[in-house]
Each structure stands twice: as structure tokens, then as C-alpha cells.
Symmetry: C2
Subunit: 228 residues, 2 copies
DNA sequence: CGCGCCCCGATACGGTGTACGCACCGCCGA
DNA sequence: TCGGCGGTGCGTACACCGTATCGGGGCGCG
């Protein structure tokens, strides 16, 4: 038999592996969201049978974890300069870039796997010189992450709104302000003001504003710790 | 026919209404998570036919929005004292209490409805005296919310871990640190230190630590704005 | 009393995650 | 050389999901 490569079937492509499965699933999720990822679809994408995937992952949750870990492993940790503020900012930007490319990673939280650990190590190390206690370091990193999450989540919800209704936020507010009684009559003046004053949404600006708040808070924490 | 109330059937209970549907769905979600909420289950809970729900909500997403709005409407906005820092803290605590009672509200973001608007008005008003621009106010509130979200999400993931494996975080780390090559060999010293130094998880303390960072950041923003 | 309208919900369809068990292949001991 | 065997791929089946469709039955009105 001149069959050069293994035994596997006609219709298939790659011989099925963690990497191949993760790549196919990520490809599907990247355009179509997690909604577009199903065991059948992933299997179809690689030309294999649905149940074959279960030889590699125990269930869909593990597939999701595999996807996340694969993404994290591919993303290099940002370089460190020694200036915690600059490094934290770079970390946040890098994380934001990742989530923007793979918004489905916000759908759920998966535990830290082998691929993400280098990034975590890098993040922790970045704050070591500040002299903060480990609890504080972890807390700070959590805050930075949640800032990124919130920004992306908001950005995506605006994008979804636009995709599904064709309206931008302003138009949507105008269309729906009538639904809520008491909005016209000045019962909610601040909300009315917010709607009126909100111009074009600038996601970058909003993100950097939020990040600045966090970084200032961290600076205060470091100052307090060092001084105390 | 001595049937006193309308025409509807034997097995049913309440005559079906927005409130009844929302309450039933919330009841299911509160213990069992969003996973336990399906059109059939909600209908069964109120003894009606599945498709009857569609007379009140167009699809499951709208049911979810209805659930969220109902919860928000029932939760009174915290009183304001005039001290933005105290008020922001109270807002965060109140929000945290809500999400703790209804963790499924973190599963997705639903647009602001009539029930939540009073709380939003209150939150915006709370920051008006600081003299911040509307964009900054919205950004600050977003940061506070995302702090709460992150804290709850983390708390829930720890609870899930415990429920599904019976381990606490420490035991889980111990059990899985072998899976990641290079963790034993000192390749990731900070991660190793984090695992070693992490004691019992104190969610309250972690939450207040994060919140303090944000509040300090907001103070810096206000000072900068006022001074500039 | 009879008719038409309208609302309720049974049924059905296409999709999902996944348990089960069979077919097949390459390896290894006899 | 042959026989068995472990492991992998996957066809089939089941329970459940969201929801489109449509038939039947109760009510209001003429």
C-alpha cells in the first residue's frame, strides 16, 4: 500500500489534533461568535465526525477552555520596561487587542491553562518592583482586566445594536425614549442630559479614560503602601 | 357555568402577565442559573402552554431583558448623602447585593429598560455635584459597575469550582499545578509565589480592595478636573 | 340563537450536547 | 504468519432547546 500518511479517511483533512480542533473552533467563533460554534460545526469544519471530537475534549466547556488557552498561548506577553504605569498600560492595550480580535472570549471565564500562564507570570512580575503585597497585586491585575472587559463588552454591544437594528446609540435612544414613561416629563433629568450630551461614541477615548482612573488608583495604593 | 374567572383552563394558576412570567423565570434562574430557564420550564412553572409566553415576549432575549428589568425595578436606589465617595461605595454595595442574589444577571448585558432607569438617574445625580463632565461621570459609573461584575464573577467561579469538584481554590491549584510543565521547575516564580501565598479567599476583602482603587482613581480625576 | 373572531397551546421542525457501541487499523506476542 | 487487542473514528439515538405554524374552542356581537 502506497498510502504515505497514516490510516485516516478520504474526506478528512488533518489527522485531528488538539491544535487542529482549537484552530477550527476559533475560526468559527471569530466570525459568528460563540453562537456559531457547535460540536457538529467544528467537526464539519475539519471534515471529521462529530463524536470524534470527544476523544480530545470531554465536553463543550473544555473545548472553550482549549480555545482560550490556544489564543493566549499565541499572544506574546508585552515587553516590560520597569515603569509599572507604562507596563500596566501596555498590558491593558495588549489584552484589549486580543479581546477585540476574539470577542467570544468574554462569553465566559475559563480557568488558567498552560498557554496563558506565561502572560500571567509577566503581569505579576511587572508589579513586583512596586513592593505591593501579593493580594494587592492580584487585585490590581483584576481591576485592569475588568476595565478591558467592560470596554470591550460595551464596544461589542454597540456593534451588535448597529448590526441588528442599523441604528447607532443616539438613534436608538431617540427611538426608545418614548417607551419609558417619565423620560419626556423631566422625571429623570440626568438621564435626559446624558442622552442629549452623548455624542459619537469614541471607544478608544472611553477606554483610556477608564484606564486612567484605574492607574491613578493604583498609584495612590502604591504611594499609601510605600508611605505607610 | 359557575366559572368565576375568565375562560382559562383547569391546571393554570395566575392568568398570565408580564409580572407573573418574570417572577417565574427569576425564580427558576435564582437556583439553577440561566441554564435552568427555558420557555418550556417557565411555562410549566406557571401551568400554561409553552407558546403562550410568546404573546408577552418576542423571544428568549426579551424574556431575559424582562427578568433583568423586573429585578432592577424591585431594588430601590440607595439613598444619597451628598458625599460622592460614600454614595459611590453604597451604590457599589447595593449593586453587589443584587448580583449576588441574581448571579444570572451577569450572563449577558441587556439594554436599560423602564425598571432600571430610576437607579441610573440616581447614580448619575450622585456624581453631578463633583463637577465632572458627563463623559467622565458615565466612565466612572462604568468602572464601578465593572468592579462589581468582576468581583461577583470571580466569587461565582470559585463557588462553581467548589460545587463541581468539591475543592477550594488552594486544593485545585495543588491538584493541577502538575499539569502545567515548568511550574515546578522555577520557570514561573511569581505564579508559584501567588499560589503559595494565596490563603483563604476573602471575597469581601478583595472587593473592597478593588473598590478602593477605583475610588482613589476617581478622587484623582475629580481633583485634576477641579484644579485644571 | 348563530356566527365570526381571536387567543391559547399542541404539534412540528431544525438545531443542540452527548451517551453508547460498533468497525476498523496498526501493533505485538506466539 | 497469524490472532488478538487496544485505541481511534464516528453513525445512531435521545433528550432538550427556541420558535413557526395552525387548528380548535370560547366569547362577544348581530
Amino acid at each position: 500500500m502506497p498510502d504515505a500518511e497514516s490510516h485516516d479517511g478520504r474526506p478528512g483533512r488533518t489527522p485531528l489534533s488538539f491544535a487542529a480542533i482549537a484552530d477550527a473552533a476559533i475560526r468559527l467563533a471569530d466570525h459568528g461568535g460563540m453562537h456559531a460554534v457547535s460540536m457538529r460545526k467544528v467537526a464539519a469544519e475539519l471534515g471529521s465526525g462529530t463524536m470524534s471530537l470527544y476523544r480530545y475534549v470531554a465536553n463543550k466547556e473544555q473545548l472553550y477552555a482549549l480555545m482560550c488557552d490556544t489564543v493566549l498561548a499565541a499572544e506574546p506577553a508585552p515587553a516590560r520596561s520597569g515603569d509599572w504605569r507604562a507596563d500596566l498600560r501596555a498590558l491593558a492595550e495588549s489584552e484589549r487587542a486580543v479581546y477585540r480580535r476574539h470577542p467570544w472570549m468574554l462569553d465566559s471565564i475559563s480557568p488558567l491553562g498552560p498557554g496563558g500562564i506565561a502572560r500571567v507570570e509577566n503581569s505579576l512580575a511587572l508589579l513586583a518592583p512596586t513592593g505591593l503585597a501579593m493580594d494587592d497585586i492580584v487585585g490590581v491585575l483584576g481591576m485592569v482586566s475588568s476595565t478591558v472587559h467592560a470596554a470591550i463588552r460595551h464596544e461589542m454591544s454597540v456593534a451588535d445594536l448597529h448590526r441588528s437594528t442599523g441604528m447607532d446609540v443616539h438613534e436608538w435612544h431617540a427611538a426608545h425614549s418614548g417607551d419609558i414613561k417619565g423620560l419626556q416629563g423631566g422625571e429623570f433629568p440626568m438621564v435626559a442630559r446624558m442622552i442629549a450630551e452623548t455624542g459619537r461614541v469614541d471607544h478608544d477615548a472611553a477606554f483610556h479614560r477608564s484606564l486612567a482612573i484605574v492607574l491613578d488608583g493604583v498609584a495612590a495604593l502604591i504611594a499609601r503602601t510605600g508611605a505607610g
